[in-house]
């Protein structure tokens, strides 16, 4: 049990107070920690490294596309660049980002628990993630892989001469990290809620992670199976996907997207959870339609498994199957739209302030709305035939994944930074960065909608000269976006030493995580909290935390 001395927590914390960061400082105490907060920090450091690695690949892609000729890198290098960019960003950044960092850090605190249900499995998941990441990096260094992150057969299984097996094994291993995180969240949310914290009171961040965790444990094994079959075919020439061996290449697409479409929601649902928390806090209002927003997360999780065929509209699946998948894809748009409407309605009669996380939240709603609506374009069959496999699709999913998830991640990192580090970030710089990200993002990706409709196919190393102007615009935008991503790295690191000392609840926010010191003690709470009030009860002033 806790031996933490009681302190007056309404005063700014001092460094001397024992907390999860300063309790031990040896390298071993970090690498063998079972504290969910320390594991979150380990994840934060590793996914940040992979984010900038993936970003470096994106930079080289955008530089190549400045000119229509293939003059910056060779075709072979270009194909490896976009493959590594996709693999790293999807499997090593987006999938773990919010769940493994913020979810890990916050879910136990939000439900009044001392840790996740299985702390050692939590640490194991980080090691699996790093192990998987090392495989992928090794593949990149040992010649790279050129199949695209989608590994479509029979190119990947028979024709590619690159490090397919190493990379696939990396994704396979990293997948188990995701499964273990999901498993841990589900058990924790079921079994470890504080007294009084009923399902109808858990924060929407927790609901969205619960929905995410369901997809992680139900979908990721299918990815593991698919990758295993791919590796078996590549090594042993067992005919599964390669028609020359009697296999079916489209079967691979069905299996791949059976995981990878739900995985899109693994990547966006946690972001939606962050936005719900942030909007409620900075408008001092309970999230409008709490139950509907929570239910919509679950609806998304379930429907996400029924839409994979919309990636195969032009692959030769039956046109009637195409119609069913199109209709189901419109269904899944409804719960996403509901969330946007409810966030907007939350602002009504609120008391709104504009700190950095709120700016990111507004950016999220705008960009996610555009990403979602262009998703409707793509769900509409007659339109999809023209733009599938073009830059329209690239723009669409970057609006959702980058405009949505990365922006939500940045909102969350800023919102909970004081809690995680005990320091305030510099507000002015952070607001500038948020605006730079928004502008840079739109400048990068909006031209790609037009490029796609003009017909520029994705994964093109050289392209017809009439597409150049829009590509130059996109590359210019990417350099603005890069500044927007580098700024937070600089000022957040700066804040660790020079930032103002954070109080326990700098935003006057509701939620159990704000009722414990910043940074929290190893056991999170000095006493297990008892929950009596509703979630987001901003009509009462936030109490100064008491020990």
């Amino acid at each position: 049990m806790s031996t933490i001395p009681l302190t007056r927590l309404d005063e700014p914390a001092t460094r001397q107070r024992p907390n999860y960061l300063n309790v031990k400082s040896t390298i071993g105490s970090w690498l063998l920690t079972t504290d969910h907060k320390r594991i979150a920090i380990l994840y934060l450091l590793s996914i940040t490294a992979f984010f900038f690695m993936g970003g470096a690949f994106a930079t080289m892609i955008r530089l190549e596309l400045l000119t229509p000729q293939g003059d910056f890198v060779t075709a072979d290098t270009y194909n490896k660049l976009f493959t590594m960019h996709g693999l790293i960003m999807v499997f090593l950044f987006l999938v773990p980002s919010i769940p493994a960092v913020l979810g890990n850090f916050l879910i136990p605190m939000m439900i009044g628990a001392r840790d996740l249900a299985f702390p050692k499995i939590n640490l194991l998941s980080w090691y699996l993630y790093v192990f998987g990441g090392i495989f992928v990096v090794y593949a990149a260094l040992s010649g790279g892989v050129d199949t695209g992150w989608t590994f479509y057969t029979p190119y990947s299984s028979t024709y590619s001469n690159s490090a397919v097996i190493t990379t696939a094994l990396g994704v396979f291993v990293a997948g188990f990290s995701s499964i273990l995180t999901g498993l841990n969240f589900i058990v924790t949310i079921h079994k470890m809620r504080a007294p009084g914290l009923t399902w109808g009171k858990i924060p929407l961040f927790v609901w969205s992670h619960y929905a995410t965790a369901l997809i992680q444990i139900l979908g990721t094994p299918v990815l593991a199976i698919t990758i295993t079959l791919l590796v078996v075919e590549r090594i042993a020439h067992v005919g599964i996907f390669d028609p020359a061996l009697g296999g079916d290449p489209v079967l691979f697409q069905h299996m791949f997207w059976f995981y990878s479409h739900p995985a899109v929601y693994i990547m966006i649902l946690p972001g939606m959870g962050v936005i719900s928390e942030v909007i409620a806090c900075y408008s001092r209002k309970a999230v409008f339609g709490y139950k509907v927003v929570a239910a919509s997360s679950m609806a998304i999780a379930i429907l996400s498994f029924l839409v994979w065929g919309h990636h195969l509209f032009v692959s030769g699946q039956s046109i009637y199957a195409g119609m069913v998948f199109s209709l189901l894809s419109f269904f899944v748009a409804v719960p996403s739209a509901i969330k946007v409407f409810n966030w907007t309605a939350t602002l009504y009669k609120g008391s709104i302030s504009f700190e950095t996380p709120m700016l990111y939240a507004f950016g999220f709603i705008g960009l996610f709305t555009m990403g979602g609506l262009t998703g409707l374009f793509l769900a509409s069959l007659g339109f999809d035939v023209h733009v599938t496999d073009t830059y329209f699709v690239i723009a669409h999913f970057h609006y959702v994944m980058v405009g949505g998830m990365v922006v939500a991640y940045l909102a969350g990192i800023h919102y909970w930074w004081p809690k995680m580090t005990g320091r305030m970030y510099p507000e002015a710089w952070a607001r500038i960065a948020a605006i730079v990200v928004f502008v840079g993002f739109n400048l990068t990706f909006f031209p790609q909608f037009i490029l796609g409709y003009l017909g520029m196919p994705r994964r093109y190393h050289v392209y017809p000269p009439e597409f150049q102007a829009l590509n130059v615009l996109s590359t210019a935008g990417a350099s603005v976006l890069a500044v927007g991503y580098l700024l937070p790295i600089i000022y957040l690191l700066w804040s660790l030493k020079y930032g103002a000392i954070a109080p326990a609840n700098p935003w006057g926010a509701k939620g159990l995580e704000w009722e414990t010191p910043s940074p929290p003690p190893t056991d999170n709470f000095i006493e297990t909290p008892i929950v009596t009030e509703l979630t987001y009860d901003y009509s009462k002033p936030a109490e100064a935390p008491i020990a």
Binding site: S326, V334, F362, A379, S380, G382, T388, S539
Partner: protein, 330 residues
């Protein structure tokens, strides 16, 4: 010449205008929706901004079932329009009309090889007449490719494998040269797997055909191949059991061992050459060896053209797509 900075693609087929109309509808609805959300957020954010830290805390509003229902059902109904419109276009886009002119395409790393029925062959170029429905029957020698003509708003993957001829049809409305792209990533020179669609006046097209004619027609080339590969040993016209005559087979249902029936179409003939034991004709021993690796996809298409020529034209189905309008399904 192409516009140096186009913002909208050329529109040059009967399909392209229809896709553009759907695009305008989708853009209009989405634009209004985006505007509505942006404007609402902006207005609410300004109106309810916190003016001083001491502003009173707002009263909670927990939701409204009326609003929730409205903003679930109304967008859903609009989406149903998007669905129905898109599905209608998709059906038309992938249902070749009766009597379309057939051209054969083989995709391989990294080129498009085209054969006209009269024997003309071209690479990375396709000459077609304006105003006439064209149906492409497409096969891949290696990996998945995708045949994409942006100006026509049509695309279809070209998937390797047994029983997988991909089909794509279009009707060009404007004379000119249009991009042909491979849209499915296919390896090193994927972005080099491009070409041109040359849409010509019918008279110019005829002139082009005769200028490039002189080769054997596809059926004649197929007949030669039929002899070279030894097919004629067992399948010569007029063969009697246990040898199987192919005369008048194309376009007819065939009884299989096990009781099933299959329509002898392109896909069935191709499967029977590559994997003869997959669907064995009732009453004939399963003795035919596979020709996988011995005949190219282009050769298979020529053999099919030859076998088709052994059927009386009146008995051939208009289009072999199972979904073909007025096509003979089953």
């Amino acid at each position: 010449m192409q516009n140096a900075f186009p913002l909208f693609p050329e529109s040059a087929s009967t399909m392209s205008g229809q896709v553009d109309a759907l695009t305008f509808f989708l853009t209009l609805v989405s634009g209004l929706m985006t505007l509505l959300i942006f404007a609402t957020i902006t207005i609410l954010a300004i109106k309810y901004r916190r003016r001083s830290p001491n502003d009173p805390l707002p009263a909670p509003i927990h939701g409204s079932w009326l609003l929730e229902s409205t903003w679930s059902i109304v967008p859903f109904l609009v989406m149903l329009i998007m669905f129905a419109w898109g599905a209608r276009l998709f059906f038309d886009n992938y249902t070749p009309p009766v009597g379309a002119m057939e051209i054969f395409v083989v995709g391989k790393q990294w080129m498009w090889k085209v054969q006209h029925p009269e024997g003309q062959r071209e690479i990375n170029e396709l000459h077609i007449p304006v105003g006439r429905p064209i149906m492409l029957t497409m096969a891949s020698e290696d990996v998945i490719h995708s045949f994409f003509i942006p100006a026509f708003r049509v695309k279809h993957d070209v998937v390797p494998g047994v029983g997988r001829y991909s089909q794509l049809w279009f009707n060009a409305t404007k004379v000119g040269d249009y991009h042909l792209f491979c849209a499915e990533y296919c390896g090193n020179q994927h972005s080099g797997m491009t070409g041109w669609i040359h849409v010509m006046e019918p008279a110019d097209y005829q002139a082009w055909l005769s200028l490039h004619g002189g080769n054997a027609t596809m059926a004649q080339a197929g007949e030669t191949l039929f002899g070279q590969l030894g097919c004629a040993t067992c399948h010569a016209p007029g063969a009697t059991p246990p040898n199987l005559s192919l005369t008048n087979m194309y376009g007819h249902p065939v009884q299989l061992v096990g009781g099933a029936t299959v329509l002898a179409d392109e896909n069935y003939i191709r499967e029977s050459i590559i994997n003869p034991r997959a669907k064995v004709v009732l009453g004939y021993p399963p003795v035919m060896p596979t020709y996988q690796g011995q005949v190219t996809e282009e050769g298979v298409l020529q053999l099919i053209a030859y076998i088709k020529s052994l059927s009386r034209p009146s008995e051939r189905p208009a289009a072999n797509n199972a979904n073909a309008r007025e096509g003979t399904k089953k």
